[in-house]
Amino acid sequence: MTDIEQFRLQTREWLEANCPTSMRTPMPIDEMVWGGRNLSFVSEDQRLWFERMRDKGWFVPDWPVGYGGGGLDPQRLAVLESEMRRLRCRPPQINLGIWMLGPVLLEFGTEEQKRELLPPMARGEIRWCQGFSEPNAGSDLASLQTSAREDGDAFIINGTKIWTSYGNMSDWMYALVRTGPKEPKHAGISLIVLDMNSAGVNVEPIDLISGKSSFCQVFFDDVRVPKRQLIGELNGGWPLAKALLQHERRAMSKFSEISLPTHFDLLEYLRRYLPDASSPGEIALQQRAVSCLMEEHAFRLTHRRINETMRARQDASGLMAISKLVHSEQERDKFEVLLDVMGQRALGWSGDGFSERELALTNTWLNSFAQTIAGGSSEVQLNVIAKRVLGLPEAK
């Protein structure tokens, strides 16, 4: 038996012995364990699974042991992941620190920063949030304005960050700030990390058209951050930001893999709310709904095609470039049809007059508007396809 085969065997045994069966089921969004100072569990199994994986260093199986990781090589990492998939193990902890900041720290951080920041991250003791977008810097990140002025051994931060997920429940933030106000836009940006408990940090959750949300706006009012919390070079944040954004894309896809967003099956609703279409208007609506289902079907097939293309080691970049655009727009289109099918029943806001599922549908519908904007708006996606995939010239 090779070493790898042996590792697979041991891992399988360990997982079977240590992953509670209730942690081998699909994970509802409110059963995610986020780590951090205010750690809490909804079940004993959840706590056990968290602690056992933490003690193996397997929150971050491929990080060096010295920083609290599992020290696995890529081959062993792949084995662990495939065994976890096989048993359908839930991820024991979810944390932007691990997914996004960690890899960047490993690449760009000083030894001191790694020793200070990575081990608590690897133990799930700190919940991290991200400070990138600003009210005047959405798609155009380079024009961010939150400033970090040098003052002795510290930076003084002023400004505001927006769309920070769970900003109100996080312990630390990694943020892009402007340290070089006179440099051209990209050149004056730095990456810093800061404790959300620092004096002068204020967090306000943002109400969306769909109601309460996990997004926050974070305000900085003369917040003092020690200079050693600068990651990378002063004014050298842009390449780090790009690295982080790449990790973000990977994290987003991982996130969508493990989370179970409420899915509304158009066909099911058609059958329930329009069981026997008889008038011309109803029949036309039904056919429109079917077109919508067909578009979804074609997209599911395209998703499969992406996987097959990658497995065949062919170029799938063009297909991947359309994926977010198509998915978010199809969701929006589906809700438009659902609204037509359900009439006012799809427009309930609260109260006993509507079923829970109907209210969830309204909520998801209104959230769908954010999906064609957040994470690269449809317009940005179209620009990318036009330029990178089709090779059309820069807009004049």
């Binding site: 943002i206 058209i209 009439g343 006012q344 509507f354």
Partner: protein
Amino acid sequence: MGLIYNEEQQQLQDSAREFLAARSPVAEQRRLRDEAVPEGFSLGIWKEMLELGWGGIAAPEQYGGLEFGFQGFGPVFEEIGRHLSSAPLLSSVVLSASLLESMGSEQQREKLIPELINGQRRLALALDEDCRFRPERVGLKARKDGDYYVLDGKKTWVVDGFGADGWLTVARLEDESLAIFLVDATVERVQVDHLNLVDSRNHAALTFDEVRLPAEAKLPGKDALLALETVLDRGTACLAAELLGMSESLFERTVDYLKTRVQFGVPIGSFQALQHRAARLYVDLQLARSAVLAAFECLNDPEASATERSSLVSLAKWKAGEMAHRVSNEAVQMHGGIGVTDELDVGLYLKRIRVVQVQLGDSDYHCERYAATLR
């Protein structure tokens, strides 16, 4: 009138705009929502509207109306839409007073219409039973029992039905014909449930559990379905005007945003893709305005046939609905991240537009109805 507002209509629009901007701006609608005012409107502002004479715009002088003509509601509902204002003008005046005028006894007309016009009384129309608008599919039963009628069944989406003094309730008689009953809110065995929709207005569900009504509660007029159609056409045109007003306001906000919001060093309105999309919205707005004005012109024309009327009213609601749909979706998208926050008014418009699109028939319904006029 014609396809542009005449002088009187223009004056009505100007005064409505001035009044609503001062007394019932979007912020007021936000207040009503945040304070969860169950009626969904402010009684004080409603009284002020009636003092301006809005209740009597179309009503005959003999019942205390101004006899200005139905065309007067066009500019008023446009402005109501523009300011997202909320008032029982549609439910109690346009629908209920009109229905009483055509179906009520002389006694009912003389007593009730003036009260509706001056706000002493507030009625609502209880018609819908299904999630899609189908006025002919009435299941609520009215059974004759001696000198009484017994009503049994359910109504839903009764606009301004919560807190109303009564409901004009459409029911099916034993011979399968339709009849309209004036059900006083004080009557027993009617359960009223508040339905909280995304627009935070007043919508109610009514449950009639063997409700006994005196025979005179049944409006004596003949052919309830025909009367209903005429009255619904009026209401539908008003909703189309409301959609037009909302969309125009939302479009103006969006174009302003395109001019002022800077990304990548330029106003986003200089991006050609957004320019073309905005231009297409403008086109849609203009086509919708023409259709809405034509509907009011027709409603005001005593010589217009029922076919012409339903053709133009359905065209107006269809086109205004399709247009409002596009404008509201694009308004959110073009505002970007901030467009999905509750802080901006864009979301309030979007939600109200969706409700009005559905009320009294959505696009599929009105397309089908227009098609029927082509036969």
